[in-house]
């Protein structure tokens, strides 16, 4: 079955791959925002993850270690954010912007000499005969481990937030940090851990771009994926499963426009490649307006600085 030269099963399979970076970054940012911290430096953490993961994978020859390196790189930058916003009480938006500007510069500095190198390959998870099933095999059983990991981590975040004491504390800190502090919870520590988790996830997402999606290193490789991840958190109204829907929606659009470019569509390439950004804006408009607007679901203490006077 072909639609204009595009096979739907292959399209679905490739949108699942395309959406992994933003899914990982968005679920990390969701946890950060649930703890009441707005980190707009996702783009910077992603690109640091992309280069750290790439360097680790190339120098060890092990793609799995590459992802660990990417997570470490993202978390390291997130740690700087945590120190600035939690200990030194800096403005979160300004610090997030600094993170992005610094990350873009530092990554391109670290990436000198890594242009044009191929990273070690990550193969698909061997499902044996399952992968040969028509349609379903291509969609469900032909991916690398990170695709399954991204779905699993969303399920895990959902379960932790909904069913565990840890999740309750995290949400309490994000909804009302003064009350959480009065109850004896360490607001700063909870937020530090959430920020580090967010950084690690964004870093892994970035590593996925440089190790699997592209796969090579170029300056500015993330191309706004971190910002789209931020938009997806708003789209998802801070609900984990909706991150998956949002991620697949954007993955679908970017794959579709790439396919249209490849199949020689009459729409100029420039206009096709701006479509993910325009659709992000459109989705933000739809989600933010009207009665059921997403912002009503935002954590109440989002973006506010916490300073315990006692």
């Amino acid at each position: 079955m072909d639609l204009g030269g595009i096979n739907p099963a292959v399209l679905i399979a490739s949108l699942m791959v395309a959406s992994v970076p933003i899914l990982l970054a968005a679920i990390g940012e969701l946890v950060v925002e649930k703890s009441g911290v707005l980190n707009v430096g996702v783009e910077g953490m992603m690109i640091m993850g992309a280069i750290c993961g790439f360097i680790t994978a190339v120098s060890t020859g092990n793609p799995f270690l590459g992802f660990a390196g990417g997570a470490a790189g993202g978390a390291a930058l997130a740690f700087v954010f945590a120190v600035l916003t939690q200990s030194l009480l800096a403005n979160q938006v300004a610090t997030g912007l600094a993170l992005t500007l610094f990350g873009l510069g530092l990554s391109s500095l670290m990436g000198q000499g890594y242009n044009g190198i191929k990273p070690p390959l990550t193969g698909p998870v061997p499902f044996g005969p399952l992968a040969d099933l028509p349609v379903i095999g291509v969609i469900l059983f032909s991916h690398d481990w990170v695709v399954y990991f991204s779905i699993a981590i969303i399920a895990a975040v959902w379960a932790v937030l909904k069913y565990t004491r840890t999740g309750l504390i995290l949400r309490a800190v994000g909804e009302n940090h003064d009350a959480a502090h009065a109850l004896g919870y360490k607001v700063g520590r909870v937020r530090l851990l959430a920020i580090l988790f967010g950084g690690a996830m964004a870093g892994m997402g970035g590593a996925y771009i440089s190790l699997i999606r592209v796969p090579q290193w170029t300056d500015g490789i993330t191309a706004g994926a971190g910002w789209i991840a931020l938009a997806i958190v708003v789209f998802a109204s801070w609900k984990p499963w909706r991150v998956l829907i949002g991620g697949y929606l954007f993955g679908g659009i970017s794959v579709l426009q790439l396919n249209l470019q490849a199949s020689g569509s009459r729409i100029p390439v420039e206009y096709l490649s701006m479509s993910p950004y325009l659709i992000t804006i459109l989705v933000l408009v739809i989600m933010s307006s009207g009665k059921g607007r997403a912002s009503l679901n935002a954590p109440a203490a989002l973006g506010q600085t916490f300073h315990a006077s006692r």
Binding site: V40, V80, V83, L84, L88, L89, A90, N91, V93, A94, T95, L97, A98, L101, F102, G103, L104, G105, L106, S108, L109, G111, Q112, D219, A223, G224, W227, L230, A231, V234, P268, E270, Y271, S273, M274, Y277, L278, T280, I281, L284, V285, S288, S289, R293, S295, H307, S309, R310
Partner: protein, 360 residues
Amino acid sequence: MLTLEKRPTPSRFWSAATPVVAVILTMIAGGLLFALLGKDPVAAIRTIFWDPLFGEFAWYLRGQLLVKAGPLILIAIGLSLGFRAGIWNIGAEGQYIMGAIFGASVGLAAYPTESRLIFPAMILAGAFGGWLWGTIPAILKTRFNTNEILVSLMLVYVAERILSKAALGFLRNPEGAGFPGSRNFAQYPAASNPELIMGTGMHWGVVAAFIAVIFAYILLQRHILGFQIKLAGQAPRAARFHGVNPARMVMLCLGLSGALAGLAGVFEVTGPAGQISIDFNVGYGFTAIIVAFLGRLNPIGILLAGLLMALTYIGGEMASTNLGLPAAAIQAFQGMLLFFLLAVDVLTNYRIRLFARGAA
């Protein structure tokens, strides 16, 4: 145990001293970074901060200082008004590009007519283009409650795509033998923005930047609108009681900062850049965010911060040719400056006190 104690009012001393402290800390940390890259840190710092002003080629490089500082100051002045009111326009890069495209389009449409009116018309078109691109997030914010940070940033990517379409398509030089890029404005006197005084780097964009500094200073110090902008940022509730219309404030701040960024774009493309090309924009819109904060959102501060940031651009280029320091190092250096600034800024609003733990 160190604890922070909130000051009743921000310290005036630290408010002025933090940028200086941040610059010194950045020089130290930057030196360490350069040493890690295997360069002599002292030589690198001297090449970046000293040689452009007093070194061998200072006669030429001092002029470049204004060329780079002009757009940075012009954009940062606009951004600072919004940042003061708590309105985060981070898409100045896109507004800068759109200003350049709009302005250049008017000039190229008039080619090869010679008239004194062409250049002013291009400037107006550039300001309009930037205003238009800044007003999109403003309208979406006031009408649909969308986040202006995300929308303005997304529009940067859209503007970059339009720029590449312009350079390769609708604004390409018909006599350019198929090469990307528009006609060069340096060869079209009616539309060009030449150096006004030889050797100073002074062009109309720099003049506009100085005028913007003066206007912003008067606006913030003497005008009711400036008071309202400051009030909206410091006490949004009080601002509403004062009769400040938040929607109007958003439209004003985003529109004005967009228009100033657009102006910077059209001055750049007619002057130092010379033509619309795929990558004529070099990230001034993003660096201007650092300039605005480094100048403490104060017009005079922004003027000084813009000059300093221009110095790092020029010194960075010199260090890259003379010492082989990667060009990206300077970008990391600029980002680091913002980190240190935000970090030491805690001293403005808080006192550091020594407390025995558990005493309270």
